[in-house]
């Protein structure tokens, strides 16, 4: 089966997802959705290997929620929480995204070329071999990596603005790591978060991810590979042990 085009103009997301599932069930590997405008929940819970869905337009919230396997490429901005609790696969956004990007994400990758809203990477988690990755090319708004429990979140600050210059970075973080190009002003660090320079091993670990991001968006990788990065992690092993539990 070759690439399948769907003209999504004024199609409700329920019918749209039914069509997508039918195509994937029949062995379709490439789906192109044209005239997307605000449809929520696209490709939610969709499973499949080597399936690519291209979205031309502006999808609604919770894109690729619970998705496991496929690749989604968005030519436009995404709304709230793309990659919500996503399990596996890739979401590439040629534009910006709304609040709570990668909400509770548990595996796979999300690349956002431009900016993200508030609470990017909230509640990201990891377990055994599952380690979600969110990379943002531009900048993030406040409460980046709030309550983060695992995974890797990288913000590059490529659009002439600092990666993040708002409050609450890593607020309530108890696992995973937030990497920013340069560093975050101390006043913007959230409760329970601390900032450190990267060790050479840590740097070696993230550079391939950044290189891949540059490849996907066709950005010059050299300045990124040469840049300095900082790492924001939990201040203690269990920073909120005394807040929520009694022992």
């Amino acid at each position: 089966m070759g690439a399948v085009h769907i003209n999504a103009k004024d199609i409700h997301y329920t019918q749209l997802n039914e069509q997508i599932r039918t195509i994937v069930a029949r062995g379709g590997k490439e789906i192109i959705l044209d005239n997307i405008l605000g449809q929520r929940f696209i490709a939610d819970g969709l499973r499949g290997e080597n399936v690519t869905i291209t979205i031309n337009g502006v999808p609604g919230g919770d894109l690729a929620m619970f998705m496991s396997g496929p690749t989604i490429i968005v030519h436009g901005n995404a709304d709230h929480a793309p990659g919500n609790t996503m399990d596996k696969g890739t979401v590439i956004i040629h534009g910006s995204a709304g609040d709570a990007v990668a909400h509770s994400m548990r595996g796979g990758r999300i690349y956002v070329r431009d900016n993200i809203g508030y609470r990017g990477g909230i509640h990201m988690k990891q377990y055994m071999g599952k380690r979600p990755i969110l990379v943002v090319g531009g900048s993030a708004q406040a409460f980046l990596g709030e309550y983060m429990a695992g995974g890797l979140l990288i913000v590059l600050g490529l659009n002439d603005a600092a990666p993040v210059s708002e409050r609450g970075v890593g607020s309530g973080i108890h696992g995973g790591e937030i990497i920013v190009r340069g560093e975050v002003e101390e006043k913007y660090l959230g409760m329970g978060a601390k900032q450190q320079p990267l060790t050479s091993e840590q740097r070696a670990e993230i550079l391939p991810v950044i290189e891949d991001f540059a490849r996907v968006f066709n950005i010059d990788k050299e300045p990124l590979l040469a840049a300095e990065y900082s790492r924001i992690i939990p201040a203690h092993a269990r920073p909120f042990a005394n807040k929520y539990t009694w022992e």
Partner: protein, 350 residues
């Protein structure tokens, strides 16, 4: 969760209601079919000197005459008519919407510096708190609110919203959470020139309500949003604050941020917080406020509700979702999400 959208044309070029209906309906998922509404500015040019009172009557025969007697006591009814509606299969018509063009008699409020506005405010508060089968849900000049308990398309079709032409529109799709949905509880909430739509909840409602009622306003709609309309009226119209400063009072910077400001700014922000502590709004919210010249959008200070802004030529759009804005103008540019608590203001040029 609710859906909001607002648009202002800074040159006052008129837009009919077709697109705003489509934009609001595209966010149907944000509502529950229990409330939707629209307000348009510039729709009554032939009566623009008079206050356009939109009224819900429970029973025309019983409740119309007492209201008219009251209005005649405070001024002159220049013209009145039933608001044109078109029955919709999915919308139960529980009230009859009526409009009056009304001229208050300023000599009846001799001690006031703004007698006409004060008469209208008095009438709205009196009628709505006495609840005698009539409810005034719109009371500004050259503007009108159209709302009901239903889905966005049904409410728009019921009022034939496409027949109205305004240079500034607000629209709201309601998902009632803390109180039941009803016609009066649908947004926009309006008083005089002010209209408000709101997504979220004002958890400080009790404090805000006690504060605003101490100035003679009465909260009667069983929902939090109306308090915002009265607070804006008090702070901006009565106290003379700019819209920007009013938003500063509603969603002020944190004390720790104020501590880091330059001395002069610190002084101003402390003064606003201390003076208007009871007007500060807590909880998650994204709000659009309009008056005849201005559209203002802002969120709570930790940004617990979405707000997207777009611009295209003379038009400024503010909405819960970018896609809703693109329903009106698919090529809208300069899309951005404002910072928490920071107002986005669009003003007409003249």
């Amino acid at each position: 969760m609710c859906g909001i959208i607002g648009v202002i044309d800074r040159r006052r070029q008129l837009m009919d209601g077709t697109k705003i209906k489509e934009a609001l309906a595209s966010m149907n998922e944000r509502g529950s079919g229990e409330g939707a509404g629209y307000v348009a500015y510039g729709i009554y040019p032939e009566y623009k000197e008079y206050y356009a009172l939109h009224v819900f009557f429970d029973h025309i025969r019983e409740h119309k005459v007492p209201l008219e007697d009251l209005l005649e006591k405070w001024g002159t009814i220049v013209h009145d008519e039933q608001i044109k509606t078109c029955e919709q299969p999915n919308l139960r018509k529980v009230h009859t919407p009526w409009r009056y063009f009304f001229r208050p008699d300023p000599t009846l409020m001799p001690k006031s510096t703004t007698p006409e506005e004060d008469i209208i405010t008095h009438l709205v508060m009196k009628v709505n708190s006495e609840r005698n089968g009539a409810l005034i849900f719109s009371s500004g000049k050259n503007l009108g609110v159209f709302k009901a308990a239903g889905w966005p398309e049904d409410v728009a079709n019921f009022y034939r919203i496409q027949d109205y032409k305004g240079y500034l529109w607000l629209a709201h799709n309601r998902y009632p959470t803390n109180t039941a949905g009803w016609w009066g509880g649908a947004h926009p909430f309006n008083l005089l020139d002010w209209s408000v739509v709101h997504n979220g909840e004002i958890t400080s409602y009790g404090t805000n309500r006690r504060y605003i009622e101490s100035f003679g306003y009465k909260c009667t709609m069983y929902t939090d949003t109306e308090v915002v309309a009265y607070l804006v009226d008090l702070l901006v119209r009565k106290h003379g604050l700019s819209e920007k400063m009013a938003v500063r009072a509603f969603a002020p910077p944190f004390w720790e941020d104020i501590d880091r400001m330059p001395a002069k700014e610190q002084e101003l922000n402390r003064a606003i917080r201390l003076t208007y502590g009871s007007a500060m709004m807590n909880g998650p919210f994204a709000i659009c406020v309009a008056n005849e010249n201005t559209l203002v959008g802002f969120t709570d200070r930790i940004k617990l509700r979405p707000l997207v802004v777009g611009e295209s030529g003379d038009r400024l759009f503010i909405s819960s979702e970018e896609a809703a804005i693109r329903r009106i103008d698919k090529d809208v540019g300069n899309i951005f999400m404002p910072k928490a608590g920071e107002p986005v203001i669009g003003r007409v040029y003249v």
